[in-house]
Symmetry: C2
Subunit: 462 residues, 2 copies
């Protein structure tokens, strides 16, 4: 496409500043205290889509946070690309571990980002990657090079399960009709090793509550004589993995697809250095399911992790108490063919069944989504691959991600179209963690690569 | 003793109001935010001791909170009773479970307290029981019936391990010289079943910290591939008890005294109704060490309880994170002959040894104390027993308590005198829990019984 590099270098500062303004709004969907900020962010997205030439832009109400929808149709006979992204972000805590405030973006140089990276919650996941598409659109409309029709669907509840997006999609199939869905909400292997995500894990997220005595008790007067909900909770959670770190929930693995030797050999080709991996995390050993490599454990295998646990006295000093209740938030990453609702039910049934006498157990399903796999012989994948070749000078590697974008499998089911996951972030960008950041080089490279996807997808669709 | 009942009924309202004023000060020693309130409480105790006729009262500085010391010597040839108590209280949380604010005392009637009970943190443990001694002293001095010498030692760090009291005792053996130590910081079986505590459990309190990766991680990208500190912590804690709820720490039981069939039979005579016990706690079953009854589990057997646990995301909604760190506060109740420092070392060694590769474990000893047993043929015990007979009309039952007053065994070691534990609280008074309270009847009954102990102890000492 003509002049894309020059256009980017001329507008680089503005592209960065616009994103920085967006990152200043704490759009934390998990915490209702930030409701107004989430809504304010939706407004900001609407305005930005109008500015880059969408014909119609609307803020679509849902039972939760609104969905920003925009479209530009140049010719009904040309293909239509549906861009999905989200404007909400993860909670930033623990705040004390941030080297700069999560909602006061700053650009700092790092080893992986010598040109600098924008530090802020949402910089990579997903405000930065979503905004690449807005700026790519700006380039194509400004230079009259938009080769096809475009639809944008930017939601505000991805970090809390996209509960209302699914209804929106089901009720707007005609409006959302498209030939391919394009999402940048994943990562790539390295700046010099481009990759396209071809698989996502599903998710089941639950909260558990163990109740023992009806009040907190003195641990001296009652210690040893009644079930301590925290001790019991640790026993119950510990029992969910066996000595080989297999998950012990009956039926959990029934539908898990076992990859062939060949597929695993293919996966093993992706560059990976275990020593660097351990060094980056400051751990003396990796840990996981017996019989699988690190890259397999976090992509083609399901997992069960406690994301939070609390109970009893957690303040300063000591309190000799037996708590009445103990809680945990537990999530399971699932692989294709594992149905998240089935797994949630299996978990609930099993967890309740292992509760000893003397306690009551409550399992509250939180949210979830299905896994996803995309073929590498589709027009969409080929178009993406050619685009990367142009801008990175290398053929991207197909890669299964361990993460989840629950909505992707629903898109395929409801809209009958495939999703292409063009992610430009790095694992080291610390999404969901303190000091999340997004490389300036990656941000601009995304803006440069996306229009080429439009070009090749349109050409290959002829 | 003359006129004690009439004196109490004439001054009942004032006795209650003085205690209520004391309970309004939130003297939480575990939380440094309340430092000024703890110090203010020491001042109040000093003034109250001066008012009831102590010759000298001083606030003795320590490296922590001060110790209030007061004494009245009437005749060097008469015995000296050393009264110990504490003016600090447990943290009140969880606040939402209190039916009235913990530091705004109110009197409410209950089934076990038809004459009403004072609801406030510290009402029973230990401000209320400590203040009985101050008012008993008032009666004896005002009516010229003090039969012996008295010393008061009221500390402000009992709820956080009495670290500085031990030094104070070691450095002031002459000043604290006494013939018997009298403490009201325990309970009795029921208002119509008076009992004297003859045994206390020791305590070892530690905090553990499990560190995995050097930052919080996205549970999708890393889930299954690295050790999750919370999952590991639950496994480690769960492994501290076997299937019979025996503690698995090597050497933990080595010095535990096994009671004879006869002693256990004697214990079993104490009135206990398992159904009422379960009903009061709203549990469908008790839970504990195989082969022992409920009353044995919480008195003659050592225990290991998690008092608090925390890690990861515990806020509203969901966060798919693998925490970098997980924490727990763990306390062990010990029986006589188990040395708390030995046990703390055994725990530390064992807990560190069971940490899998991929995590770092830190064990921080918090505080502790030795268990204690007192004979029932001592002058002190006999004097207490006679006092109860006069005021309750029944011989009190000797009872082992599951609680700990770490300082008691140190008193014996340093001051070479026995401690008599005259407790007037009930198990149902919810000490260390929300809605702690102390029966008005029990408070006044304590004030009535204590002077009789002085009388009989002096007579029996002749």
């Amino acid at each position: 496409m003509k002049n894309i590099q020059s256009y980017i270098s001329e507008n680089k500062e503005r592209f960065l500043n616009e994103l920085i303004e967006l990152l200043k709004i704490p759009s934390i969907s998990a915490d209702s205290a930030y409701k107004n900020d989430v809504l304010k962010t939706a407004e900001a997205i609407k305005i930005s889509l109008e500015k880059v030439g969408c014909d119609t832009v609307e803020i679509c109400k849902t039972d939760g946070y609104p969905i920003v929808y925009g479209e530009k149709t140049i010719d009904k006979n040309l293909p239509t690309i549906l861009v999905y992204g989200h404007y909400d972000v993860q909670p930033p805590d623990p705040l004390e571990l941030w080297t700069s405030p999560p909602f006061e973006p700053v650009i700092k140089k790092t080893d992986s980002h010598p040109d600098g990276a924008i530090y802020a919650r949402g910089a990579c996941d997903d405000k930065g990657q979503m905004y690449m598409h807005v700026k790519a659109m700006e380039f194509m409309t400004t230079t009259n090079q938009l080769p096809c029709n475009v639809k944008f669907m930017i939601e505000g509840e991805e970090e809390v399960g996209s509960a209302n997006l699914s209804n929106f999609v089901k009720n707007n199939q005609e409006k959302l009709k498209n030939d391919v869905i394009l999402i940048s909400d994943t990562g790539m292997i390295a700046n010099d090793v481009p990759s396209i995500t071809t698989g996502l894990r599903g998710l089941s997220y639950v909260q558990v509550e163990v109740t023992g005595p009806n009040r907190d008790l003195h641990s001296g007067l009652y210690g040893g004589a009644v079930a301590n909900p925290i001790n019991i909770l640790t026993k119950m959670i510990a029992s969910l993995h066996d000595e080989n770190n297999h998950i012990t929930i009956p039926g959990f693995y029934d539908k898990v697809e076992e990859l062939s030797k060949e597929e695993r050999a293919e996966m093993a080709k992706a560059p990976f250095n275990l020593e660097n991996y351990k060094k980056a995390l400051d751990i003396d050993a990796v840990y996981g399911e017996e019989g699988y490599t690190t890259n397999e454990r976090n992509s083609i295998r399901p997992t069960l992790d406690v994301n939070g646990i609390w109970g009893g006295y957690t303040g300063e000093g000591a309190k000799t108490v037996i708590a009445s209740k103990a809680y945990a938030k537990i999530s399971m990453r699932l692989v294709p063919h594992q149905d998240w609702e089935d797994i949630t039910n299996l978990f609930k049934k099993h967890f309740e069944s292992i509760a000893p006498k003397g306690v009551k157990v409550k399992v509250t399903p939180h949210h979830g989504g299905q896994g996803y796999v995309t073929p590498i012989d589709s027009i969409g994948y080929k178009a993406a691959s050619k685009a990367y070749q142009d801008t990175f000078g290398k053929t991207p590697i197909p890669q299964r991600s361990g993460g989840s974008i629950p909505i992707v499998s629903l898109f395929e089911q409801e809209l009958k179209s495939k999703t292409i996951l063009m992610g430009f972030g790095l694992d080291s960008d610390a999404i969901h963690s303190p000091n999340e950041h997004f490389g300036v080089w990656n941000y601009l490279k995304g803006i440069e690569t996306i229009p080429l996807f439009y070009k090749y997808f349109t050409e290959l669709s002829k």
